[in-house]
Subunit: 433 residues, 2 copies
């Protein structure tokens, strides 16, 4: 593997703060034509910002040789760092490797050892080998490979004539770990200061209400405070600029505390702490088990809980009772209750929560029944009408809600309500206990 | 309101087909830094394609005067049409109107009638007037306003020296109706043909394998054929250029049939027909019911099935057995089986599928048990090892798989496998029946 050229940027990285500029180039005709939405470029832009590297432009180019080389050359003429996303696969329209070499005036070389690794991998898995796969062992001479444990196309870090080009693969399962792992580490070395944010997550209040309560803090300059509305929750982003992450954290902390004193229990977590994570944490600390019974969310509530790492300690299981027969056979909901009140009713939500608590043998059980649309009223129950139940050691609580929005919004808000009800019960139990 | 200048493009629009090129420029620091994802640019790219206008580049620029004017000038030097999104509001960082005038070498003018309209509107609604609102009545001289019934900032269509710049507002509720309404109508006049695609969805084959089989078709120019890898499936996009959508469809159809004859049953659907949709369709046509039992997918398989409109006719329900106790109590999996083989095993997948078929009273039941990570081996079972069961009228089939990727990939591939197995069984039943 060739020696890495020490670029001007690397040599001076300690001396400067926030003077390194980057551009992001997303590659792919599917992206360009809008057939898929580019979620990777925003992730990369945030990583650059957090590493103190200013992002000045993002562009999207199709799988077209002349346009891709042209766009790379233009970006290199304006920026110190160019990050490409996509076009590293084995097929004919994966042009990024060669285009980077052309734009940097470099030659390509073939890394025979890596081709052998790929051949061994394919042989051990019994996958079919085709010659095009070997293209993924090509790279510009000035580049080093970035390991891709989740795919066959390695990333590239190219350094030549004071410029840096970093190339990442497009598939999400490969892009995310590479961007957040080795590429981020590389950028932390390039930057010279940090822009660091903490996101405070709030439930049970609208955006304007939150904004009214923290308006004076929103006028600060370092850190800045900005509200963002999401389905069923509000986020406040507190952002500081400093030489180190620790210094930025020290600027953020007192503002976080002020916001906590104003919003109290509505503030349920920070950064990646989702509502389901905060519920799992509370269940763990109390040694309690939970289960769910859902219909219109179709497995979505269970999926949110099981997405939390370590949730298997506290989440026993769930039932998805999509047809009426399943409500009766799996949960013991009374046929008379269904007949009298209909499946979208306070009584059925109550029996679902009680039934789930019983059949799963858990401390707490959540239930959701409702009409998420998209078609109109079901048995006279309008779209958006939802009953959410929470059964615990002290009995069952049921909330009736009318949610607006499309199907996914109504489902999301229903599971937010269920998790929020459980969080409130767990918090009360903690205070009592 | 000033007369619209007749540009070279408009005058010759009927004479040419697909020679008009466009670039899209999204404006806003929040977009550039990745704090919000740009969903408007893909919408605009699709509209351009459907109007027969080729989109060759998309860019994102922050609210910075020099960079915005520079980017506009570069785009105008390459493309006939530039579409800007965002930056039309009343605040100081809304620069797009003035930047377009600067890039086109035009002057600004103030439309007093529109300022009066705004003042009347604010007065009638009881909104507070501030002087900055009047900026929205400014425009380049060569521009005409595009009515914005959902906001106060009108769009712009600017035509000068053979170039066209179209400016749309950023808020979704304003962008969408303007893009899909008057702006689309304008582009239909500019284009002179259509670019139309059909996506063919393939399961059970890797991207390179598919490419090998259809390589000769990939060399065609109209329609073009391009492969795209997704988690657990491959898409082939067939794209034709023609005067009308019907003519494009007529070009695509024979290529579609050729691909079908080569790939056979691996081709499961087109365009928006997901694998779960194709399974629900087959179940409906056979009048069969399905249920699921899952652990490591945590409700995700049920969620995929219930996301299909009308799935309640064929999906009875599911159980999410996350802890061992739930496998026993809900599905009747034998404690001895769990002890002898462990939860991630062929035997447990088999008993889960059989149990789900029995307790749910359905014709077909799918089961998934495995280790999706992210932590390492569970009971000696490595990350990625998954057993997928499918129980039907003719017995139970279980597949053992080793998947790569992060947790979400492994979960996705597991549910792809389950749905694919069911699809195969249903197809066989249809042939028999």
């Amino acid at each position: 593997m060739p020696q890495i050229e020490q670029s001007a940027i690397e040599q001076s990285s300690n001396a400067r703060i926030l003077t390194v500029n980057a551009e992001i180039l997303s590659v792919g005709t599917e992206l360009l034509l809008g057939q898929i939405v580019d979620t990777h470029a925003p992730v990369m832009a945030r990583i650059l910002a957090e590493c103190g590297i200013g992002c000045t432009r993002r562009s999207t180019i199709g799988d077209n040789w002349d346009r891709l080389v042209g766009a790379l050359q233009e970006s290199l003429s304006r920026a110190d760092v160019v990050v490409t996303i996509g076009g590293l696969g084995p097929t004919q329209d994966d042009l990024t490797r060669d285009a980077i070499a052309a734009a940097l005036g470099d030659e390509m070389e073939h890394v025979a050892e890596y081709e052998q690794e790929l051949r061994d991998l394919f042989a051990s898995r019994g996958f079919r080998w085709t010659e095009s796969i070997a293209r993924q062992a090509d790279k510009p001479k000035c580049a080093r490979f970035v390991d891709n444990p989740h795919g066959t196309a390695p990333g590239l870090i190219c350094q030549k004539a004071g410029k840096v080009v970093v190339a990442l693969p497009g598939p999400k399962g490969e892009f995310d770990p590479m961007a957040k792992g080795p590429v981020r580490t590389f950028f932390e070395g390039l930057g010279g200061g940090v822009i660091h944010s903490r996101t405070l997550r709030i439930i049970g209040m609208g955006e304007s209400h939150v904004e009214d309560l923290v308006r004076d803090l929103m006028e600060g300059e370092n850190p800045t405070v900005a509200p963002y509305a999401h389905t069923g929750e509000v986020h406040l982003r507190v952002t500081a600029r400093a030489q180190t992450r620790e210094e930025a954290e020290a600027l953020i902390e007192p503002v976080h505390q002020q916001i906590r004193s104003v919003l109290g229990d509505h503030l349920f977590g920070t950064d990646e702490t989702t509502l389901e994570q905060s519920v799992v944490d509370l269940l763990k600390s109390q040694g309690s088990l939970v289960g769910v019974a859902e219909s219109m969310t179709g497995g979505g509530l269970a999926a949110r809980l099981t997405a939390v790492p370590g949730s298997s300690e506290v989440f026993r299981g769930g039932v998805v009772t999509y047809q009426l027969a399943a409500k009766v056979s799996l949960l013991g909901v009374g046929e008379a209750t269904l007949k009298e009140h209909g499946p979208v009713s306070e009584a059925v939500a109550r029996e679902m929560a009680e039934g789930a608590r019983r059949v799963l043998g858990v401390d707490y059980a959540l239930s959701i029944t409702g009409n998420a649309g998209p078609t109109s009223d079901v048995d006279g129950k309008p779209v958006g009408l939802v009953f959410v139940g929470c059964a615990g050691p002290d009995g069952v609580e049921v909330q009736e809600q009318r949610f607006r929005g499309v199907r996914e919004d109504i489902q999301r808000r229903a599971s937010q309500t269920a998790l929020s009800m459980l969080r409130t019960q767990l918090a009360a139990a903690a205070q009592k206990g």
